[in-house]
């Protein structure tokens, strides 16, 4: 898929360019509200990834790749679980069990819990985002 599915259709290209940041914004919303409302890291990652897929479909693969280079994707893929695991270890260092969020560590337990859960969700989101985009690029002819 060397070029856009839609040829040089101006409307599609423009709309896609306009919509993509909003999709990403929505993804971030889902990400940050994961611990209080439906949603979370995984869904957010998929939503943000879909914005890149949209760009690829509308603008063509090369341009989409230009915005999300392999050199960025590769560290992102493995940093997500790393964040997850390290936060678990942080809980141990702070005197709790692995992944025990509700511990008093500089802040009251409720605050720490919110911060740590959000961090874990961010980690998951990053990985899912990078993985899905990578799979998409691989299938589209990387």
């Amino acid at each position: 898929m060397s070029e856009s599915l839609f040829g040089e259709d101006v409307i599609v290209r423009t709309i896609a360019r306009l919509v993509a940041p909003f999709i990403q914004l929505f993804g971030l919303y889902v990400l940050m509200h994961g611990h209080v409302s439906p949603g979370g890291g995984f869904q957010a990652g998929v939503i943000i990834a879909s914005s890149f897929i949209l760009l690829a479909l509308a603008l063509g693969l090369p341009e989409s790749k230009e915005r999300f280079k392999k050199t960025i994707r590769l560290p992102m893929e493995s940093s997500g679980p790393l964040i997850f695991a390290l936060i678990g270890v942080t809980c141990i260092l702070a005197g709790g069990y692995y992944l025990q969020y509700g511990i008093a560590f500089l802040f009251p337990p409720a605050v720490v819990s919110a911060i740590l859960i959000s961090a874990v969700e961010i980690g998951i989101g990053i990985t899912v985002l990078a993985m899905i985009v990578t799979i998409f690029y691989a299938m589209a002819g990387d």
Binding site: P38, F42, Q43, V46, I132, F136
Partner: protein
């Protein structure tokens, strides 16, 4: 619990599933499957699991469809007879 919409959704789900199976044009089948996933997402929300519904909408209806279409683009669009 409201029975009407549930049964309506389930009925359409069955129809879509059958349509996806009998369609010989794989692209059509994929698009039907995408609609099926969307309705599944609604059904999940109805069953009080918005999280799963969310995921189904994003992954099942969105990413999976794109990946299917890419696969079809790389192979053949029409299901072949017999061999």
């Amino acid at each position: 619990m409201i029975w009407g919409p549930d049964i309506f959704i389930l009925a359409i789900l069955v129809v879509l599933a059958i349509a996806a199976v009998i369609s010989r044009d794989l692209l059509v089948a994929t698009v039907i499957f995408s609609g099926y996933s969307l309705l599944m997402a609604v059904a999940y929300v109805q069953l009080n699991s918005p999280d799963v519904g969310f995921t189904e909408a994003a992954v099942g209806a969105g990413v999976t469809t794109v990946l299917f279409i890419l696969t079809i683009a790389r192979t053949a669009r029409m299901e072949e007879d017999g061999s």
